[in-house]
Symmetry: none
Subunit: 214 residues, 4 copies
DNA sequence: CATGAATGAGTTTTCATTCAT
DNA sequence: CATGAATGAAAACTCATTCAT
C-alpha cells in the first residue's frame, strides 16, 4: 500500500498523493481526529512537505472539500445528456449521484458528514456545491413543466421546496444505500425517482394535500 | 440576576445544567472540538464535578444523545392524537418534528451531525431513535392504506423505502428550515406532506415511474 | 465484605477499620496509586471522616507503617522465650518473623516495599523498626557467644555486619517465600538458620575467608 | 560551560540524556511520583520529545530497568575471571556488585525498590536479571564443590536456597552499605563472603543446624 | 528541495482536600 | 457527628507547526 519511496516527482503528482491520503484519512477519522502525521505517512512524504504545499490543516481540508465537491458535481452533470427528456435526465442524474457517492465513500463522508460539522469556513464550501445541485434539479423541474406544456409559472417557493427536499432525500438515501447491505445505487435511484415524479405531477396538477386550519 | 455563582445545588439540578451546557457546546463545536473545560465553564461548575457526575467525555456525549433523542421522539409522539385520521397524524407529527428541531437546534445538530460522525457507540444510539421514527411513519402509512380501503398487502420493501426517504427528507429539510430565513416549521411540513402524500397515493394506485431498460 | 453500615461506633473501632482498609489498599496498590476514595469506601465510612480522624494521606500512611511495624516487632519478640538457649531463640524468632509476614502480606508489603520507596518521612519510620530487629539479633549473637564460653569481645563491626546480613537475608527470603509456591515459613527459617549458625560458628572460631591482597 | 541549551543533537544522544534523567528521577521519587515534566526538564528537552522517542511513561520506565539491569549484570560478569578459583570468582563478583550498586545508587534503587513495587510488567523485567545472578552464583557454588573434590550431587534444593539467600543478602547489604557512612564495598563483600563460605562449607560437610521437633 | 529534530499550547482525566448543611 | 457537594492543582499524553541542516 502507500506510495513507493520514489523521489523527485512533479509537484502536481505529489499534491494529488497528499490529497488522496487526506481524503481517506479525513473521511474515516474525521477532521479533528485525523492527524497530519498520519496523512503525511499515508501519502509517503514528510510532514514539512505537506505544509510547504498545502499550508495548514485547515487549507488541506478545504482543498479536499473542493476537490471532492467538484468531482461530485462533474459526475452528476456528466451523467445526463441535455437532449433527452427531463425525466430521463433526472433519472440519469440520480443514478450518477448514487453511483459516485458509492464509489467514493470517503469523499462523500467528507462532504456530507465532516465538512458540515466543523464550522463555517468548511460548511460554506459544501453549501456552494449543494446550491449547484439544487439549481440543476430546479432546471429539470422547470424543463419538465415545459415539456408537459404547463405554464412555467409554477410557484417559485414550491419548486424550491421540492428541489430542496429532493436533494435532501438523495443525500440521506446515499448514506442509507452505502450503509445498508443489498441496496444498490439503481434501487436507491428508483425509490427516489418515484417519490419525485409523483410529487412533481401533483404539483403540476395543482392538487395538493391541504393543511387543516390550525 | 442571571446565573449568579450559586453554590450547593442538589445533584439532579447540577446534572441538568451540565447536560444543557454540553448539548450546546457539542452541538456548536462538534464532539472533538468541544473541550470539557468549555463545557464545565458554561455549566458554571468545575471540571472535576463534571467528571464526578458524568464519568467521561464519552459518557457525557452519550448522555446528551440519549436525552435529546428521547426528547425528540417524545415531542413527535406527543404531537399526534391517535384517534385522528392517518394523514392528520402525519401532518401533526411532521409539524412537531420541525417545531422541535427548530426550537432545539443544538440538540438536533448533535443527533443529525455529530453523533453520526464519531464512531459506532454514538451512531448506534442515534440509529435506535431513527428506527423509532421510521417505525412510526411506517405505521401511519399502513393506517392510511387501511383507511383508503386498500388491501393492506402493500409491498413491504416499497413501504420501507418510502418511510426511509420520508424520514431522510425530513431530516434534511429540518437543517434547511433552520438555516433558511423565512421558512417556518409549518411550511417545511407542508412541503414534505405534499411530497409524501403524492408518493403514497402513487404507491397505492400501483402506478410508478418506470426506469429505462438500461 | 467491607463493614456493614453500622452507625455510631466508638472512635477507636472506626479508626481500626480505617487502618485496616488503608493497610490493605496501600499494600496492594502502592502509596501513590491508592486513593483516599478507595480507602474510605473499603472502610465503610465517608471521606471527610477519614480526614477528621487521620488528618491526611501522609499521616494515614505513617499510622499504617507504625501499626504494622509494631505488630511485626511484637510478633518476633513474643515468639521467643528468653529462658531458652540462644540458638533456639533465634530459630523461634525467625519462625515468628516468617509466619507473621506470611499472614500479613499487605502489612509486610507496606514495610518492605512501599515505605522505603516514598521518601524520607516514611523510610525513617521503617528504619526504626529495622534497628529494633537488628538489635534483637545482635543480643542473640552475643548471648550465643557467651553460652559458648567465648570471650564476649567479638569484633563489634563484624557482629553488626552479621546481624545486618541476617536481617537483610530474612527480609529477602520473606518476599521469596511469600511469592514462591511451596516454600513454607518453616522451610525459609531452616534455610536461613543454617546459614546463620554456620556464619556465627565461623566467626566465633575466628576462622574466616581471607580476601586477597588486591 | 555546563549543559548550555544545545540544540539539534542526534537521536541516540538525546535518548541517552533522557534515560539518564529518567533513571535519576525514578530512582529518587519513585515511579508514580516522578513526573514526565520533571524528567523532560532534567533531560533538557521538551516533553513531546520524550514521548516521541520513548512512547510512554511505562515504556520509559521499562527502558530504564532494562538498561540498568544489563549494566549491573555486565559489571558483575565482567568483574570475574573464569580461570581463577571459584572462591576468588565469588569474591570478585561480590566486589563488582557492591561497587556498581554504590556507584549507581539511582539505578540500584530502580531495580531493587521501584521496579518490584509497581506491578507485573516491571517486576518481571527485574526477575529476569535476578535469575541471571542466581544462576551465576549457583554455578560458582557447584564449581567450588568440584574444586573441593566433593561429589557434585549436592541436594539441588539446598543449593537453590543458598544461592537465593546469598543474592538476597547481597541485595539487602547493598542498600545498607549505600546508606551507612563508612561501610565500603570491600567491607560489605567481606562480610558476605564469610557468611557464604561458612554456609557452603557446612553444606558440603553435610552438617547443619537441626530444628527442634516442633 | 527534503527532512530529522524539536516544541508551545492544549487535551482528557485524577486526586487530595475542604465546607455547608 | 456525618456527609453530599465542590474544587485547585497537577498528571499523562497529543498535535499542528517550525527550523536548521
Amino acid at each position: 500500500m502507500g506510495a513507493v519511496k520514489t523521489k523527485r516527482m512533479p509537484r502536481a503528482v505529489r499534491e494529488r498523493q497528499m490529497l488522496d491520503a487526506a481524503v481517506r484519512t479525513f473521511g474515516q477519522r474525521g477532521y479533528r481526529s485525523a492527524s497530519m502525521d498520519e496523512i503525511a505517512e499515508l501519502a509517503g512524504v514528510s510532514k514539512p512537505l505537506v505544509y510547504l504545499y498545502l499550508n495548514s490543516k485547515e487549507d488541506l481540508f478545504t482543498a479536499c472539500i473542493r476537490r471532492e465537491a467538484a468531482a461530485l458535481v462533474k459526475a452528476v452533470r456528466g451523467g445526463v445528456r441535455p437532449e433527452l427528456p427531463a425525466d430521463r435526465q433526472l433519472w440519469d442524474g440520480l443514478g450518477a449521484f448514487f453511483t459516485h457517492t458509492a464509489e467514493h465513500p470517503d469523499g462523500w463522508a467528507i462532504l456530507h458528514f465532516q465538512a458540515r460539522t466543523h464550522g463555517e469556513p468548511f460548511a460554506a464550501e459544501v453549501a456552494g456545491m449543494r446550491c449547484e445541485l439544487v439549481a440543476f434539479v430546479t432546471e429539470l423541474i422547470l424543463a419538465a413543466a415545459r415539456e408537459a406544456h404547463r405554464d412555467p409559472d409554477l410557484p417559485a417557493r414550491e419548486v424550491a421546496g421540492l428541489a430542496e427536499a429532493l436533494v435532501g432525500a438523495a443525500e440521506s438515501l446515499a448514506a442509507w444505500a452505502n450503509a445498508t447491505e443489498g441496496v444498490s445505487a439503481r434501487q436507491a435511484a428508483a425509490t427516489l425517482m418515484n417519490f419525485a415524479w409523483a410529487g412533481l405531477g401533483n404539483m403540476m396538477r395543482g392538487s395538493s394535500w391541504t393543511p387543516p386550519a390550525a
